[in-house]
């Protein structure tokens, strides 16, 4: 992923989530304001990808509304980890059989 790509993607998901929730009147503007402030503080512009992946799982600790985004990224993280494990195993099998 390009530099800042992950942060931008997460911010995009979060902005869309807030806008959609506002449109559907699931949250009011005051709540959206609180959440947006929290997001901007939690995800500063100079955050690294590694730091970001530590922050994301905690986003819904304060605001359960952010749960869908947290789950999405946790699943992706899990998927990457699983694929890496599979790759390692395959490599091991290849080495042992070769």
């Amino acid at each position: 992923m390009e530099k800042q790509g992950l942060r931008l993607q997460i911010e995009k998901d979060l902005a869309l989530l807030l806008l959609e929730k506002l449109s559907a009147k699931e949250i009011d503007f005051k709540k959206a304001q609180e959440i947006a402030k929290f997001i901007l503080k939690a995800i500063p512009e100079n955050i690294t990808d590694a730091e970001l992946m530590k922050v994301v799982p905690k986003l819904d600790d304060n605001f359960t509304e952010l749960c869908p985004i947290v789950l999405k990224y946790l699943r992706e993280k899990e998927e990457i980890k699983t694929n890496q494990e599979i790759e390692k195993l395959l490599e091991k099998i290849r080495r042992e059989s070769g």
């Binding site: 995009k12 979060l14 869309l16 503007f29 959206a32 304001q33 947006a36 901007l40 512009e45």
Partner: protein, 592 residues
Amino acid sequence: MVDDTAKVEIQPQNTPPEPSPPEKAVPPEIATATLNDACKAVETGTREPREVLEAIATGTITEGKLEQSPLSPESISVQEVLEMVEPTGTCRNLGVIRLREEPSEEIPQAEQEGIDRLKPYLQKALASDPLLADLARSGDKPISQEQIRNLLGISDERDIVRLYYILNHNLDPALIPAALEKKRQQHQLPEATVKALRENPELQNQFAQLIADQAFSEAFFLAMPGGEAYPPAVSEKIASLIQDWQKATGIDSPEELQGQMRDFFNLGRKFWPEEAKTAHDTFMSANRLTTDGYFESKSFTSDGEFKGWVSGHGSIPNSPVRETLTRHAQAAEVGKYLVALQRKILGIYQRYLPEVYVDPSIKKLEITNPLIAKRKGYAEYGYGESIEEVNGRWNPEKRLIGIKSGTDVSGLSSELPDKETVTHPGVRAKRKVIDGITVAHEASHAIYGELVSKKLEGKVEEYSKTADHAINEGFSVLMELLMIDILRSHPEELGLDTTDLEKLEACKQGRLFDLKSEKSAYTEGTFRIFHKVYVEGAGKGEQRDMHQGLLAVRRFLDRLDPKKTTTIQRDSPRYLELLKKGNPQEWLQLFS
């Protein structure tokens, strides 16, 4: 002088009383969009997600509505940009292409009529706000027939197809017969082939479709005798075109003609592509006729200065017109930003600093990068200043504000993103933060000109050596610092976030540090006098009243006599003495 500036406290921590209530009114340049529009803008990338999050966080989002960025380019038209922004520097591609006025001698009369028919649509494309905005954002994406139909308001399908090929492939299908006519004899094709093509627009479209097909183009231009055949799908297209073309000629010996046409497309891979029998020269000629028939473009010297208008639309004859149009569109976007920023800053000036505001009557704007800034003489007034120290300039003859913004040449910012710049004290921040301060400073020069210099007739020789130059700078630095304070108190004016506010503070501290540490017209002490005038008027501490301070500054300016400020030199003993220990009253004794 130096020590005094170190103690300077410009910031009235209590927000200044605002002169009148219209702040609540939404300025005309702030358009609104529904939440759904905001969603679309985030999805399509026309709004930064963070910008939207900041809008929600700062409460600029209201029931059902989301205010667009205060610097929303949508509020400015390309026409306004063309009138206001100099086509130089970062905007040098602004208006880089125009329609040819005189017909090209190469185009036969019959084809010229077809060109004249399409010119008004292309003229519209060059100034179409939605089309250019799409181009600036989508980069190298082809312009679709749908866009041509909707954005240029065309209904004739034939015109739409022609414009599609002109814009995306530099190829007017209607000019292919003229191109073929020029090269027909070398291709050894009978005259009827040109006639058939000229009379049959469908056939012209088929030709254009084939030439524009990347698979065909690669296979045709990279062919060698006995080399790899065309991909089957391309071969089929060629065969179908040959069949239709041959039929349209009405010639009775189809096999012989089909053989000539197969050679024309090098279907049997008998030739190098450039050999006379193949279509190579016709294809090139069709591109050149399209380019030269419709367009003229700006030519620049090797160091980027405008040289003149030349036939065609760019240095690479076969590059799509769309690419040149995109460069124009991207320059227009930068220009829109500059116009919006200037309007916004003047609006803030007028509302928050009304006591010293007069219409500065700015006619032109320029945005440039540091290298070009050097050539443009951004440091021409100073003595001792080097180019890296100057972020902007005010040219009173042209009534032009120029700002330096973008990649820095000092090495501080080799990886500077497009939306950031570096200011002289080395603060790296979003462009709107630094450019906003620069525009405020330069606009202050324009205002000083209206309030003081206007009373003077004629041009002042060696202006940079006069006291007026330094006094002008002192006033502009004071206004720049006050503008920083206003923006810190009203971040919503430019849509600033907490990081931007920190950067603003850094800019202020950087300027104060410079005032203390350097020796130039900015720093030799005139700011100290203006600051004294301001503080004497405004009072101190809790009781400080910004507007009384500004009124005192205005009264001071009104009493300055430009005949004196421009005749007393910066190296005169009395001036130097006043710089060291003069008070405002002594200054007025000398200069009023």
